[in-house]
Symmetry: C2
Subunit: 366 residues, 2 copies
């Protein structure tokens, strides 16, 4: 069988450390299950700015184009915060990658494991037993890319304009992603909008209602974004699949991640159009950031990166069995009490470990 | 002395019940401190739609114009949700009132009383001792009113457009409100934006930095809105004054209110330009909604409405002593253990009371 080509963009901060663990896990997957991977490492973000003057160098983009998927670490850090915004690691690398590859569907599972509810800022009684919410965020439309996007003189005064714009077809395609995902879950989509104020909200709601007709087995609810920001805290267990436009998804998926309590364990997938065979080109990355404060110390939680690799196997390579095996291994290691510092509570029968030890344990479990 | 004219717009759901208690408290303020109030009740929201076919009838608007301030209850409910969006209670009454009177500054204190931390969804250890965050939200700009605002055919497809637009002067005036408020508080403004994506974010951040120079005694921090949605949950005690544009303020102030744990106790003020003497025309309303599920049962918490009346006295009538007296009375009644259902935990030395009994206790305390 041909080797699967994976572009590896570790980036900044804890990116390289946690990526190393994901690579170990993928090597073990090859050994155990057979699929071959061809990895190509490229610079991105601050590391690329330092070496080549650009957050997303042409080489990096070319490698991504020649690959089946991108395994991404994280980018950014204090060192590059004074650059002009368009050149900064996040804006200079992430947004162009999303746009270039048409990665319109961002899937962010927020999972709170039953044994890790202590790490959540939310009261135990509200999250007992943990929860599992999937945020489906539209990623290439809305205020992020809409034109006009402008800052300058207007009517004699400095003025800024950003445009929230959605075509119906953009809403249709992301809604299908959410409903399909919900069918494999608890069959409940909560669609978020601000239909009481925005024209986009009205079009969003009407379109999602239409798409819902194709999925009679899935229940659809609507929530205003401000109300959603409240209810997610109070009753995260009442949510299954949350469907959002780009900016609302940015805010609410981060809020959900915080409620889950362990950013270091949350993976994400950004997918383009399905190709033949139902696979997607995609970019897979942890939900957390570069965590510059703990970078280089060998204490970061590698699980988000490892689970991102699992999502890559599932969505871009069609290796469902292998993806599920990684996810199961992670659960077992957590059940056995291994904890990196971010999820360690000092409880009996748990043990604090570093980045590499956590990675090794997951490899061994596989 | 001339009587102060107050337009009373109780609205729907629990609005009339809690308004009755605020009226009792204001009557007691007259009795005790002397100022005279001339109240004029008008219909608004669903009640006005039912009686006059419009959420904001001309009579109501005329009364508001002839008044020194508006004491508002809340509007909306399932009965009117099928109306065209522009005619619904919220959009048909609240937004036009804000725009008509130029109420650009929305102040929403999120206070978690030390004795009510149990009512918050956030773990006790993160909020021990309670907290007090003031959200200053710009209320007449951004995506709410920006043009073009459009839904229809574009390039052969149904499309929605909303425009996020801020002029520098709009940002300057709300920033001054936030810095002035912070001076009377813990001298720390956290300004929220999405400067890594939006041109509005860049203008917002640069402008707030400029205004900050006039307030060397106030510390200024910046947070991206997605990060703010996380940090507010984890460390609400680290925030003092949070400054937001319109939509971000809508989302984050509701999130903060939920974190405080007792929506039924949170007041808000929406203020226009300062008049001579430093007073503001304003609209004062509880942060919570109409709560149709408990309306008419006499169990709603009237404190948000009563504290909204206190804000009215402070900002629109300049009656600081009277405002503070109401706030102190509320604190004492809470300290004495009186609780409406929404904040009752069953703890010893607390007692569950209804709407009227809570109002009466506050009156007695005054
Ligand atoms: C870094 C930033 C541009 C990005 C976004 O806003 O989409 C990030 O917050 C995310 O959610 O991936
Ligand atoms: C009802 C709605 C239009 C309003 C808003 O979005 O401003 C409400 O959510 C608020 O915060 O006052």
């Amino acid at each position: 069988a041909k080797a699967h080509k994976i572009a590896v963009l570790a980036g900044d901060g804890i990116g390289p450390e946690v990526m190393a663990e994901a690579r170990k896990v993928l090597a073990r997957v090859s050994e155990k299950f057979g699929p071959q991977f061809e990895f190509k490492e490229e610079l991105v973000g601050g590391a690329a700015i330092d070496a080549k003057g650009k957050a997303l160098p042409a080489d990096t983009l070319a490698t991504c184009e020649a690959s089946d998927a991108i395994l991404f670490g994280s980018v950014g850090g204090p060192k590059w915060e004074k650059l002009p915004p368009n050149e900064q690691p996040e804006r200079g690398a992430l947004l162009p990658l999303r746009k270039h590859f048409g990665l319109f569907a961002n899937l962010r599972p927020s999972i709170c494991y039953p044994s890790l509810t202590h790490a959540s800022p939310v009261k135990e009684e509200l999250i007992a037993g943990g929860f599992d919410v999937l945020c489906v965020r539209e990623l290439t439309g809305g205020l992020y890319f809409g034109q006009p996007k402008f800052r300058g003189e207007k009517d004699g005064e400095e003025t800024a304009i950003d445009t929230m714009i959605y075509k119906k077809s953009e809403i249709v395609r992301i809604a299908h992603v959410a409903f399909k995902a919900a069918q494999g879950r608890r069959k409940h989509v909560t669609s978020i909008d601000k239909a009481n104020v925005l024209e986009n909200g009205l079009l969003w709601r009407a379109t999602v209602e239409e798409v819902a007709k194709d999925y009679p087995d899935v229940k659809l609810s609507h929530l205003y974004v401000d109300n959603a920001a409240m209810q997610l805290i109070k009753q995260p267990r009442n949510f299954d699949t949350v469907l959002c436009e780009n900016l609302f998804g940015d805010i609410l998926s981060d809020e959900m991640a915080m409620i889950a309590g362990s950013l270091g364990m949350l993976a994400s997938a950004s997918l383009g159009k399905a190709k033949e065979g139902g696979l997607y080109f995609g970019l897979f990355e942890p939900s957390g950031g570069t965590a510059p404060d703990i970078a280089g110390k060998g204490i970061a939680n590698p699980i988000a990166q490892i689970l991102s690799a699992a999502l890559l196997l599932r969505f871009s390579l069609g290796l469902e069995k292998e993806a599920a095996a990684i996810e199961t291994a992670v659960r077992h290691v957590i059940d056995r009490g291994l904890r990196t510092g971010d999820i360690y509570s000092g409880a009996d029968d748990t043990r604090k470990v570093g980045t590499a030890e956590m990675g090794d344990a997951i490899v061994a479990e596989l």
